[in-house]
């Protein structure tokens, strides 16, 4: 009947295979093929020996959907244990996110906007950038997007802060150990290339969607990569002659890290921070699928209800935030760069 029947007969595996008819529930495709009354004969001349095709001839072969089901069952089996460990560890993240959201909402706009503008001035020391920041926030507030923009901003502040706090030490450790670098690089590649929706799925199983750490973790996992990579790179790129001089004058490895390596790697680390900010902004929009508040929610509403205007205004709001964050962090970066080339 099926293409590979002959193969199993020839190998003498007929009895092991049993009748050849699997008890597994039929797939939709099979069902439709059956209802049309034609069997496997209508398939391609020489089908690829995939799990599904082999299953047709020999019931002892699993079907591909058993694989995906197995993955799911396996995950569900260990889920409670993982949750028992991860839940308490990540709980502070929920508090931080909720706290930041509450704080940004509680501080009235006429105090908050000057604070943000002052931060922009402190970081960039550039009149143009500061004026642009003030203008953008006022514009967002004018079209009644102040609250959602502040929600997005508070999530980004918390997630970027934690990414830097965790990422810089990991990057330092990576730069000191070639073995750690070799093991971590594939993990970082995976985190960066895995479609963002995919790692939302296990997180939804682990944590309730009402908890803010769910999207916090998703954002941090995605955004921490550049700061780790560039810290590692920055430290590895520090001039070998300068390191040798530090050693020749008897610096301990801690002194060397604090006085030589980190200061000289700072421009690269700052570039990593800039990338981390940009990536958390990208992720915070997708995270609105799992209840992250902010501008992303409006974008989502625009898609769901086909409210074109809502989507576009929220989208432009995100662009404005992105440009603000990018310009401020880039200006801060070039300021750091200047002090070492100094004129």
């Amino acid at each position: 009947m099926a293409f590979y029947d002959g193969l199993f007969r020839a190998l003498g595996l007929e009895s092991w295979c049993g009748t050849g008819a699997s008890d597994a529930p039929l797939s939709m495709a099979d069902l439709m093929a059956q209802s049309r009354g034609d069997g496997a004969a209508s398939g391609p001349m020489f089908p690829f020996p995939s799990l599904d095709n082999l299953n047709e001839s020999c019931g002892n072969f699993a079907q591909t959907r058993d694989l995906t089901k197995g993955l799911e069952d396996g995950f569900l089996a260990v889920k409670d244990d993982i949750k028992a460990v991860l839940d308490p560890i990540t709980q502070p993240l929920s508090w931080l996110l909720d706290g930041a959201l509450w704080m940004f909402a509680a501080i009235p706009w006429f105090i908050m906007i000057p604070i943000l503008v002052a931060i922009a001035w402190w970081a960039s020391r550039s009149v143009a950038v500061t004026v642009f920041v003030a203008f953008s926030i006022l514009l967002l507030a004018f079209v009644d997007h102040y609250d959602v923009a502040m929600q997005t901003l508070s999530i980004i502040f918390v997630c970027t802060g934690i990414s830097i706090l965790l990422g810089v030490p990991i990057g330092i450790a990576m730069s000191k150990s070639d073995r750690l670098q070799k093991t971590l690089v594939p993990v970082l590649d995976l985190l960066q290339t895995l479609p963002t929706f995919v790692y939302l799925i296990p997180l939804i199983f682990l944590f309730s969607v009402t908890e803010s750490k769910l999207y916090g973790i998703a954002i941090i996992l995605y955004a921490i990569v550049p700061v780790i990579r560039l810290t590692d790179l920055g430290i590895r790129l520090v001039d070998k002659d300068v390191i040798e001089a530090a050693n020749a004058f008897g610096m301990s490895s801690n002194q060397r890290l604090a006085k030589v390596e980190l200061p000289l790697a700072l421009p690269n680390i700052m570039a990593g921070v800039n990338q981390t900010i940009m990536m958390s902004l990208a992720m915070v929009v997708i995270a609105s699928l799992v209840s992250a508040p902010g501008l992303g929610v409006n974008v989502l509403r625009g898609i769901r209800n086909l409210e074109l205007g809502v989507g576009i205004v929220a989208g432009i709001g995100i662009v404005l935030l992105a440009v603000i964050l990018d310009r401020v962090s880039k200006a801060a970066l070039s300021r750091v760069d200047l002090t070492r080339k100094s004129h």
Partner: protein
Amino acid sequence: MTDTPKVRLRGLYKIFGSNDKDMMQYVRAGMGKPELLEQHKHVLGLQDINVDMMAGEITVVMGLSGSGKSTLIRHLNRLIDPTAGEIIVDGIDVMGLSDDALRKMRQEKMSMVFQKFALLPHRTVLQNAAMALEIQGVDEATRTAEGMKWLARVGLDGYEHHYPAQLSGGMQQRVGIARALTANTDIMLMDEAFSALDPLIRTDMQNLLLELQAELHKTVVFITHDLDEALKLADHLVILKDGAVIQQGEPQGILMNPSDPYIEDFVSDINRARVLRVKSVMEPLTGSKFAGDVDIRDNLESLIARSEGDTSLHYRVMDGDVPVGELHMRDLVKALVPRISSAA
């Protein structure tokens, strides 16, 4: 100056490669650098180095690139660990030191000046100069005072608050020297310290080093590939080739009696009149009629100028107020022609 050497290298070997210790047997059995590379894929960096460096002297290690001179100087403070052999500084075997003791030794006994300056680009000149003291945990006021003092001594007063990138190469290397001097160590390691500078500035820096040395009497180990520089600075000259010492001794002696065709080639190119001194060509005092007195440390060039090219003259050689020998201009002229390679 004492008779016990400040730094002694005894039977020092360095082999680069993953199995360096196992390679020692082949090298001890007499295998050379090319064979070791071809048969065992290991590079012989240094072989059987025995050098005594006296306190208060400038020991110059000279060799072409690839001769192992930079490797050698890095063994003294163990930036590179030897494969075999002893490094004895002030009677203590450096190889036996723990990590902490080694750091302490680098802080207190040896400072280093680098070819590419290796200053901290994010620190001011003053902070760079005071780096060694900062590592030792000295308080800020002392650090600043010491840094200022040595910066002034190397001629950089007024530049304390500049950043290294704002200075020229020569000035940056002055900071490098000030940094080494501020560390207040007995031993100064100078790894091609002046090679990256242009010729005029290099001469300035050489004079600065000699001036400082006359005052401070440090034990200086100076690496160079430039024979003129080596002859100008050296109290003790070590010539390296392919990781082995082929001749060492007082520079004038090496110039007059090169022991190896390789060194003869080397010395044939230099301006002998400027390098050779009266001491190297004088003879015992016998005559009595002299055209004048010359100092034992004068170089031959100054004598030629003084005699206006007259080869029939004789001079009395003085060491301070004491007559110590005589010099015939004819001998002087002969000494100017290098002994041609034995083959010729």
